[in-house]
């Protein structure tokens, strides 16, 4: 499963050069949207390019990262779990300690500040687990912007605490019943809302998907994770890690950690949700089991049938339950820079329990997938292995559904 990546092979790439000016990562990415949205996307891109060069904008982001989100997040040596891994040293990048409990807020701060610069008054967002919804609602409360969150009916049921939080924060939650009533449909509805309210509205996409410039923009805002981690590991261990591991829904926490290391001699592994097993047809492993196609404005790997109809994803973790993946991941997979693997619901639950007991950290079900990969592959590691895993969210939101899976009552 773990192939040694030949870092020589990538010497000619500068990963910082992607996407190209058309928003392409190789053949993936792009802007596959209706004409109504095209001028808007060009506008967002133009404004983002300007903002990126503005010291004021960057300082503002830094300010809120530090004082509101609580950055930098610690890089923590998980000693007891490491003992389970053949003595390999595993560090957690603790983005679960961020305000609102996950990495999602890094991106929301960036996008909402951009929306404000553009004079937009109304924010729409899609959410699956509710983490991105809560983060968006939070930042909208902070900046006094109207916030509308689209959420699949199915997800509203399994993420009740987050739905309640969003309401407290003043967001309108719109229950999406169309299609399969999950994250992909919430994204469709958010896009439809945006098309219908182009003048005053900004769409804050929660992962590295969607049409250009979103995959690039979200990656840039999230890459604070990897930038910090690199500094921290060099300080703590005086060397780069051997492995980076993160879970993948759309791929934003993963790319946030990975991106600053792409040009380095580091083995990188993305863990998709294997659901009830990739052979069962009930999973969210778009890279392992999907085919290249077009959805939500970009060209990427998608779970779909032979007619090109998008199929339902399945995962115990609502945050990974997406039938696609960000286009940059599709490309990194195609060129072989990153290995993509998967972990099942059951394996993630085991890792969840172990992490809670051994480290006193209740992880979200999403990063539990990443951890489960490490546990499953412990024989591959040695005392010399240095690993950073993105602990991208805490488990508070999941306790009700976990109790149900464990047959317990709260």
């Amino acid at each position: 499963m773990l192939k040694r990546v030949d870092s020589q092979k990538f010497k000619e790439f500068n990963f910082q050069d992607f996407p190209d000016k058309n928003g392409r990562f190789g053949k993936f990415g792009g802007r596959f949207v209706a004409e109504t949205l095209m001028p808007l996307l060009l506008d967002v891109e133009k404004e983002y390019e300007k903002a990126k060069k503005s010291a004021k904008f960057l300082n503002e982001i830094d300010y809120y990262f530090k004082n509101y989100v609580g950055r930098p997040s610690p890089l923590y040596f998980a000693e007891r779990l490491s003992k389970k891994l053949n003595g390999a040293k595993i560090y957690f990048k603790r983005d679960e300690l961020n305000h609102t409990g996950a990495h999602k807020i890094n991106n929301c701060i960036g996008q909402v500040l951009l929306a404000k610069r553009m004079g937009k008054k109304r924010i729409v967002a899609e959410t699956g687990a509710g983490q991105h919804g809560v983060a968006t609602a939070t930042v909208c409360a902070l900046f006094n912007l109207k916030c509308i969150v689209y959420m699949g009916e199915t997800d509203i049921k399994r993420q009740a605490p987050n739905v309640f939080k969003m309401k407290l924060l003043g967001a309108d939650i719109i229950s999406v019943k169309s299609g399969t009533a999950t994250l992909k449909d919430a994204m469709n509805e958010a896009l439809r809302d945006w098309v219908s309210n182009v003048n005053d509205t900004f769409y804050v996409i929660g992962t590295v998907a969607g049409p250009h410039p979103y995959p690039m923009m979200v990656r840039d805002f999230q890459s604070i994770i990897g930038k910090e981690a690199k500094q921290q590991i060099l300080q703590l261990e005086k060397r780069l890690p051997n492995y980076l591991v993160a879970c993948i829904g759309g791929g934003s926490n993963a790319l946030g950690l990975f991106y600053p290391f792409l040009n380095d001699d580091v083995e990188i592994i993305g863990v998709e949700a294997g659901g009830k097993g990739v052979k069962s047809g009930k999973h969210a492993a778009s890279i392992s089991k999907g085919k290249p196609g077009f959805l939500h404005g970009n060209h990427t790997f998608l779970l779909q049938n032979k007619d090109g109809q998008i199929e339902d994803a399945h995962s115990i973790s609502a945050g990974l339950d997406y039938p696609g993946i960000g286009p940059e991941h599709a490309w990194l997979k195609e060129i072989g820079r990153i290995s993509y693997v998967n972990a099942t619901d059951k394996e993630a639950l085991e890792a969840f329990k172990l992490c809670t007991k051994l480290e006193g950290i209740i992880p979200a079900l999403e990063p539990a997938h990443a951890l489960s990969f490490l546990l499953k592959n412990k024989r591959k590691f040695s005392k010399k292995s240095l690993i950073i895993m993105n602990m991208c969210g805490r488990g508070d939101k999941d306790i009700y559904s976990i109790a149900e899976h464990l047959g317990m009552k709260i």
Binding site: N22, E35, G179, N188, V195, D307, Q309, I310
Partner: protein, 269 residues
């Protein structure tokens, strides 16, 4: 051979008539009813038939067309069967232009070359691919030329002058003006704003300009036809199909309802 779309506009011009485009979703509510509906549309007054290729995630469509796509997918429709519907239509109708409208993924999965070959073979005259803006159409450019299938583009209220010229240069047959900022079958356009937009577009192109999204009655059509080259009606027809399915009507009754509706629209236009 002249594309049927161009021929149709020449004929309409001669008769001083405006175009009526009828949109239905392929396979809605099922293959056999859909076949009968499509075959009847020209008799009921449609000058063009626009057939929607169902997609699980129709980003630009409102609830009516979303539900219609879901009904069709559930009934087992796919592109191969859609082509069968068109093949059957062409057995008795060689003149009415047929336009396929849809999203790129189902077409891409079918295989682009095969798709265009069959389009030509069965007599598809034009294509509207909603999520393929001019920036992204390099994947199909060679095929549309080689197989003489027109790539018809959407112009919207957000399209600025610069884009308009890019779009009209790369569009063939006609321009499809999306009358509202939004999705199909939801809002209603303001006629006065619409008029201004259409006149502006006509200054920039020689192509006919048809108006669609949110058009559902004879009065609107009459007003719009004063400045545009015709109208596209979709959700309003599909609502009738949905009512029939809900009420368990016979196909004859469904056809009668569509006939009555379209003849009202046609009258005076």
């Amino acid at each position: 051979m002249l594309n049927r779309i161009d021929q149709k506009f020449i004929n309409l011009d001669k008769e001083k008539k405006k175009a009526l485009v009828a949109f239905v979703t392929s396979g809605d509510p099922d293959f056999h009813s859909s076949k009968k509906i499509i075959n009847s549309l020209p008799k009921f007054g449609a000058d063009f038939i626009e057939i929607g290729i169902p997609f699980s995630d129709p980003m630009a469509d409102g609830p009516t067309i979303q539900r219609s796509s879901q009904r069709a997918i559930k009934s087992g429709i796919n592109l191969a069967k859609t082509f069968k519907l068109i093949e059957n239509f062409r057995e008795s109708n060689r003149k009415t232009p047929v336009i396929l409208m849809g999203y790129f993924n189902p077409i891409f999965q079918f295989g682009l070359k095969k798709f265009f070959q069959i389009c030509k073979k069965v007599g598809v005259d034009g294509l509207i691919i909603v999520d393929l803006p001019p920036e992204e159409d390099s994947l199909i450019k060679n095929y549309t030329q080689q197989y003489n299938v027109y790539n018809i583009r959407l112009v919207t209220p957000t399209t600025n002058k610069e884009r308009l010229s890019k779009i009209s240069k790369s569009s063939k047959g006609f321009l499809y003006y999306v009358s509202i900022m939004g999705i199909t079958g939801t809002k209603k356009p303001s006629i006065s704003i619409l008029k201004k937009s259409i006149l502006k577009i006509k200054k920039n192109t020689k192509l006919p300009v048809l108006v669609g999204f949110g058009i559902n009655n004879a009065n609107q059509v009459k007003e719009i036809n004063k400045f545009a080259n015709g109208c596209v009606i979709g959700s309003a027809i599909i609502n009738l199909i949905e009512d029939s399915k809900k009420g368990n009507y016979s196909i004859e009754k469904t056809l009668l309802k569509i006939k009555l509706f379209l003849s009202k629209i046609k009258k005076g236009n």
